[in-house]
Symmetry: C2
Subunit: 343 residues, 2 copies
C-alpha cells in the first residue's frame, strides 16, 4: 500500500504579539506505519480557540507548543487504522489532533482522545459540546452563579462562548445584555439569541450604554475580552457581583496586558473576580452535555457556527478570532468522514 | 450648670488626593441640652482607619461625610448623661463618635452605638476587637480560607489588620510572609508576630524577594495596599489562589487608582480575587471575638497599638496611615473615663 501523505502546519517561531502565517511552516511527509498499540485518525474538523495563542507563546495551564511541532488544536476525526485494542476503525474521536490531515495516537497524554457517541453532529462536538460550550455552561452556572432577576452582561456575545453563556443566563431568568462588534452581530444577539439587548462596541460608547441598559447595575459579568470593557463593567457592578474571567482576547494578541483600573470596586461592592480553565471541569462535562442537548432540542438554545474549509487555511482561520471576524464558533472543516461512522 | 464646650474638627473641603489639615476646621461650641431619648457620650479614644479617606471623598459603602459635618471616626466613649432608657451613665460604648469631645446620640442610624462589656481594655475595642481585628479574622478565615501548609502573604504586615491576619494564618498552620516598610517593622513581624519571614518594601525588590521566600508560590494574599505589590503577587500565585482585597491604601491618597497588569493570572491559575467590607460581618463579630480573646490570653497573638494623644492632633494622626508612619493600630487617645466604668 502506498503511504499516505500527511500535510501539516508546524509552529516554527513564537509570536510576540499577533501571529503571522510565517510563524508556521507547511510540510508534507508520509504517515509512518503504526506500531503495536497505536491507531491512525483521519482529521475532519479543527476547532479554533483563543487559547491557542497562549499555547504558542508560553507555558500556561499546559506546556507551550515546542518549535518544530505540529500546531496544537482540538479536532474531531475518524479512526481509519488501528493496532490498539480499545479504538476501532470507523469510530469518531475528539482530542488534540493538531493542524494536520492524520494523527497517530496511542491514546495517552496529549494524544489521548475521547470517543464521540453516534448521532452527534460532528461540528457540535467542538462547539456546543466542546470546550467553548462547556466554558459557557460552567462559567455561567458555577462561577457566575447567575440568579433569576439578576443583570448579566457578556462580551463577545456573538462568539462561541458568549452566545451560549448569555442564552443560559436568559434560560435561568436573568436580564441579559451582550456586547458584540457591528450591527449584524448585535441584531443576531437580540433577535436570534434572544438577549434583552446588545451593545455594539465598534460604534457605541460601552460605558454610557451599559449605564443605560443596566439601570439596576451589573450582577454578573462573563468576560471574554478583558481590557477596557472589563474596566467599564467594574465601574458599574452591584453588591456581591461576580466577574467570570473566561478569556481576555483583547490581550492575547498584544505584547503586554492592558492594565485594569477599577479593581478596587471589588472591595467597595464586595465583588468576586474569578478565573477558571474549563479542563478543570472535564470530569463534569457529562453533567452539562445532556442539559445543553435538551435545550437545543427544545429550541431554547441557538448555536452559531462559522465554518471555513481546508487545512491550508488554518492560520488565516485562527486569525479571524483576534480580529473579531468570526461570528459564532470558528471551525475549520478539512475532510468528510472517509468511512461509515460507527460507534 | 454651665454648658460643656465641645471641641470639634469639621470637614470643610473634600480632598482630591491626600488630605491637608486645611480640609478640616477646628470649632468650639457648647454641647446642647439633651432632648428626651438622647444621651451624651464623652469620647475617650478615636480609631484611625484608612477607610476614613474614602468617607471624605465619595459615596462608598456608606454615604460620604457632608461638608460642614464633624469628621466621621469610630471611637470609644463613656455615657455621662442620659435621657434614654437603654443607655446609662457610666456605661462604655463604641460607634461612630467622630472627631469631637462629646457626641449626642439617640442610639439610631449612624449615631448608634454598641455597649462595651466591663473589663475589656478600651483600646482593644478599637484594635483587636474593632473593625481592624474583625477584618483580619474574617478576611483570613472566610475570604482567604487559608489551609495548613499553604503560603500566605500579607502586606502592611506591621499594621493593625496585617499583623493580626498573618498571626491568624500562622495559627492555622500556614507559612506566612509579611511585607512591611523598614527594618524595625520587619524585625517585629519576624520576632514578635512570629511570621516566617518579612520583606522590607522600602529597601528590597518585592518581586524577587517573593520568589525567594515563596518557592512553592503564593496560595493566599491578604492585600491591604493594592498597586504594585498586588501585581507582583499576582505574578506568583498558585492554582486556586485567593486574593483577599481588604484595602488598597496605596491608592487612597492618589488622584487615580494605579492600574493592575497581572489580573489575567487569575484565569491561568484559576484564582479568585474578592473584596469585602467588614460591616457585612457585623452580626458575626460575636463569633470572632472570643476566639481572638482566647489566642490573646494564651499569648498566641500579639497586638501592637500606636497611640497618639489629644484631639488637636487628629488630622496629623490620621495622616500617619498614608505615609506608613504608624506601627500597629493607630489610635488617638483624647480623654480618660471621667466616671467609674459600669457595665
Amino acid at each position: 500500500m502506498q503511504a499516505r501523505t500527511n500535510r501539516r502546519w508546524l509552529l516554527v517561531s513564537r509570536p510576540e504579539a499577533m501571529f503571522a502565517e510565517t510563524d508556521f511552516k507547511w510540510t508534507e511527509s508520509p504517515v509512518p506505519a503504526l506500531k503495536e498499540g497505536e491507531f491512525l485518525v483521519r482529521n475532519l474538523w479543527l476547532s479554533c480557540d483563543p487559547t491557542q495563542m497562549g499555547w504558542m507563546k508560553r507555558d500556561t495551564y499546559v506546556p507551550k507548543i515546542q518549535l518544530g511541532e505540529v500546531m496544537r488544536a482540538l479536532g474531531v476525526g475518524q479512526v481509519i487504522e488501528s493496532r490498539h485494542p480499545d479504538y476501532h476503525v470507523g469510530e469518531v474521536v475528539t482530542g488534540l489532533l493538531g493542524w494536520q490531515d492524520y494523527s497517530v495516537s496511542d491514546g495517552r497524554g496529549l494524544g489521548s482522545v475521547e470517543k464521540v457517541p453516534a448521532g452527534v453532529p460532528l461540528s457540535l462536538v467542538l462547539s456546543l459540546f466542546g470546550i467553548t460550550g462547556m466554558s459557557a455552561y460552567f462559567g455561567t452556572v458555577e462561577i457566575g452563579r447567575v440568579q433569576p432577576g439578576e443583570t448579566f452582561v457578556v462580551s463577545s456575545a456573538a462568539g462561541a462562548v458568549g452566545s451560549v453563556a448569555g442564552q443560559i443566563a436568559k434560560i435561568r431568568g436573568a436580564r441579559v445584555i451582550g456586547i458584540a462588534g457591528g450591527p449584524i452581530k448585535c441584531a443576531w444577539v437580540r433577535k436570534e439569541a434572544g438577549f434583552d439587548d446588545a451593545i455594539d462596541y465598534k460604534s457605541e460608547k460601552v460605558g454610557p450604554r451599559l449605564s443605560e441598559l443596566c439601570p439596576k447595575g451589573i450582577d454578573v459579568y462573563f468576560d471574554n475580552v478583558g481590557g477596557e470593557i472589563l474596566d467599564e463593567v467594574l465601574a458599574r457592578i452591584n453588591l456581591h457581583a461576580r466577574i467570570v474571567l473566561c478569556g481576555s482576547i483583547s490581550n492575547y494578541a498584544a505584547r503586554e496586558f492592558r492594565p485594569l483600573s477599577n479593581y478596587p470596586m471589588l472591595t467597595t461592592r464586595r465583588g468576586r473576580m474569578e478565573g477558571f480553565i474549563i479542563l478543570d471541569y472535564a470530569n463534569r462535562y457529562s453533567e452539562a452535555i445532556p442539559v445543553l442537548a435538551g435545550w437545543l432540542a427544545e429550541g431554547k438554545l441557538k448555536v452559531k457556527e462559522d465554518v471555513a474549509m481546508g487545512l491550508r487555511n488554518a492560520p488565516k482561520t485562527l486569525a479571524r478570532l483576534f480580529t473579531g471576524e468570526n461570528f459564532g464558533k470558528q471551525l475549520l472543516k478539512i475532510a468528510d468522514p472517509p468511512l461509515p461512522v460507527s460507534s
